[in-house]
Symmetry: C2
DNA sequence: ATGAAAGCGCTAACAG
DNA sequence: CTGTTAGCGCTTTCAT
C-alpha cells in the first residue's frame, strides 16, 4: 500500500503523459486531445487521485471556500443558534447559491472574544476567500476586524455603526408598520410591543416603525418591553407588559420565538389569543406554523436575502480586492394566520 | 500599498533574520534567542503578517481542521437541523474540545447525493484532517465513503450496518427502560410509544427497550406509531395512536420534539398531560424545558458525548493513519419534570 | 496539443 | 542558536 495519497505526478506516470496535461484534464481546460483525456481520466480513476487543495490553493491564491460566520456572545451560544429556525433559513439560502458556484461553505461560530479572533485568523490565513456574517449582537466587532483585514465581507443586516461594507437587509420599519396596520384593522385599541435589543439596527427600526404607525393612529407612548430574541425572554417581556397594563389587546413582537413565548404566557394568564390579545410575530420562521395558535407574522424573505448575500460575496471575490460595497434592501410581507 | 499579503520572507527581511528563524518564532519552537524573538514579533506586528495556511498545510500535511458533518436528506434539511436543539448540543460539545486542541471545526451539511459527494471531495482533498459525522438517516452512505477514503472518522451513534469505525453512543435500550419504568411506577396501565425511524440503530434500540420493559410488566403488543423526529410527525403519530386506542394513559416518545408534538395534539383532543396521559420524551433538549408542560425525559449527555467524539478523532488524527477504532457507550438518566 | 520548468509560502532537516 | 536548502503538490507561462 502507498504511504501517501496519489499525486498528479503519479497519475501522469500511470497515463504516460506530463503533469501539465493531467492538470489540464482535471481543471477542464480545453486544448487536450479527447483520446488523451480519456486516458487520463482512466488513470485518475485507477489511482483514486484527488487534487490536493492546499497545493492548488497555494498557487491560485483561492480557497474556493467562504466562511458563514454566526457571531454573537454568551454561554450556550451555539445551542441558542440551533434553537432558532431563522439561522436554518439563512444557511439554506446561502447554501443554494454557493453550491451552484462550487464554493464550499464553512460554518463558523464566533461566540466569544477568543472564538472571534480564531475566526479572524482563519480568514486572514487565506483559508477562505470571503465571509458572510450574521451578527446577533449589536456593536459586533467582527465586521470591523474583517474589514480592516481586507477580507471580502457581506453582512446580514446593516452594521450598527456605519462602515463601508456590503450588506443585505430588510425594510424593518415597513415590516413593523405592516404589523401595526393589521392589529389596528382588526380593532385593537391598546397595542404594545416586545421589541428586540436596541443595539441592533433591526431592533431600533422595528420599534421605530411600531411607534410611528401607532402615533399616526393616535396612540402615543405605547407599552414596550425588550426581549433578547429567545423564547424565555418573550415570556418574561409579556409578563412585564401585562403587569404594566392589563388592558393590552394587541402585541407586536420583534421575532417569532419571543411571540411564541408571549402566547404561552398569555395562555397561562387566562388570556385567549387572538380573542383577548392579538399577537403578531416577525420572521415567519417555522415556529410561526407550529406555534399554538399559528402566528400571524411579518415575513422576511430570509432565503432570498441569504442567497443575495452569497451572490454579493461571490462577486466581490471575483472582482478586484476592493470591489465597492453593495446594499440590498428587501421588502417584508404580512402573513396572516390565527394569532391576529 | 502591497499587492499581496506579507510573507515570511517579508518579515524576515524586516527583522534582518532568516525565514527559518521567523518560522520558529511563529510556531513557538524554542531555541530562539529572546532578543531575536522580540525583534521578530515586532516585525510581524509591523508587517501585519499572517501565515499562509495553504503553504503550511502543504508541507505539514495537516489542515488543523476537522469537519463536523450533519448528514441526512430531504428538502429544507438545514432548516430542520436548525430547528432541533439536539444539534446545538452536539456542536457545543465538539467545539469545546476542538478549541482546546486549536483545531478548527468546519460545519458541513450533507443533505443530498450531490452535497454528500462534495463533502467527500472536501475531505479527500485534505481540507480537513478528519470528520465527525452525525447521521439523521439510517443507512447513510457517508460513513462508508469516508471509511474507504481512509479518512479518520468518528460517528455519533452506531452505524446502521456494522463497520470498523469509531463511534460514541448512548445505551438507548437502557434509556427506554428508564422511561417505561417511570410510567409504570406512576400507575400507567396502557402505555404506547412514538418511536423513531427503524432504520436508525437508536430507533430500533429505543423501541426494543420499550417492548422489553413492557413485556416484563405483562403488557404485550403495545400500540406503536413511527415518527420522523420532527414536531409535525409527533403530532400525527399521536393522532394515530389515539385512533388506535383511546384508552392510552402513557406514551414514551423517542425524542423531545415529537413529544412536544404529542402534547400539543393531546391538549387539542382535550386530554390533560400528565393527568390523563403521561408523556416521557428523550434527549432532554431545551425543548423539554420550554414545552408546556415541561417534559419528563431521558437525558442523553450529548455535550459529553460530542466532546468524547472530538477527543476520539483528535487521537486518531495524531496516531497512525489507521488507528484502531474506539467505541464509547454512555448511560442515560431520567429527568423528571411535569409531563409524567 | 503537449511538455519542461519555474515558482506559490512554508517547514524541516542539516550544517555551521 | 541561526542560516541554507530542499522540497510539499499544484498551476501556469513559455517553448516546442
Amino acid at each position: 500500500m502507498k504511504r501517501h495519497a496519489p499525486t498528479l505526478e503519479d497519475v501522469a506516470r500511470a497515463a504516460g503523459v506530463s503533469r501539465a496535461t493531467v492538470s489540464r484534464v482535471v481543471n477542464g481546460v480545453r486544448n487536450v486531445d479527447p483520446d488523451i483525456q480519456e486516458l487520463v481520466r482512466h488513470a485518475i480513476a485507477r489511482t483514486g487521485y484527488a487534487p490536493n487543495r492546499a497545493a492548488r490553493s497555494l498557487v491560485t491564491r483561492r480557497a474556493e471556500t467562504v466562511a458563514l460566520v454566526i457571531s454573537g456572545a454568551g454561554d450556550g451560544f451555539a445551542a441558542r443558534v440551533f434553537a432558532d429556525p431563522f439561522f436554518g433559513r439563512i444557511v439554506t439560502g446561502a447554501l443554494g447559491h454557493l453550491r451552484a458556484r462550487a464554493m464550499h461553505p464553512v460554518l463558523l461560530f464566533a461566540e466569544s472574544e477568543a472564538a472571534r479572533s480564531q475566526v479572524v485568523d482563519y480568514v486572514r490565513q487565506g483559508s477562505v476567500d470571503g465571509a458572510l456574517v450574521v451578527s446577533v449582537q449589536g456593536d459586533d466587532p467582527l465586521p470591523g476586524l474583517l474589514l480592516s483585514s481586507r477580507i471580502p465581507t457581506v453582512l446580514f443586516a446593516r452594521p450598527s455603526r456605519p462602515m463601508p461594507v456590503s450588506y443585505v437587509d430588510l425594510d424593518n420599519r415597513a415590516g413593523a408598520r405592516l404589523a401595526v396596520g393589521h392589529l389596528l384593522a382588526r380593532g385593537c385599541r391598546r397595542i404594545a410591543s416586545i421589541c428586540a435589543p436596541q443595539d441592533l439596527s433591526a431592533g431600533r427600526e422595528r420599534l421605530a416603525g411600531f411607534r410611528e404607525a401607532l402615533a399616526e393612529a393616535g396612540q402615543v407612548d405605547p407599552p414596550v418591553a425588550e426581549g433578547a430574541f429567545t423564547l424565555d425572554s418573550g415570556v418574561r417581556a409579556m409578563a412585564r407588559l401585562l403587569a404594566e397594563d392589563a388592558g393590552i389587546d394587541g402585541v407586536f413582537v420583534a421575532n417569532d420565538l419571543m411571540a411564541q413565548g408571549a402566547c404561552q404566557l398569555l395562555r397561562e394568564k387566562g388570556k385567549r389569543v387572538p380573542e383577548d390579545v392579538a399577537v403578531v410575530g416577525f420572521d415567519d420562521s417555522s415556529i410561526a406554523v407550529t406555534c399554538r395558535p399559528p402566528l400571524t407574522t411579518v415575513r422576511q424573505p430570509v432565503e432570498e436575502m441569504a442567497s443575495a448575500m452569497a451572490k454579493l460575496l461571490a462577486d466581490a471575490v471575483q472582482a478586484a480586492p476592493a470591489a465597492d460595497s453593495g446594499v440590498l434592501i428587501f421588502q417584508p410581507e404580512l402573513v396572516v394566520r390565527e394569532s391576529a
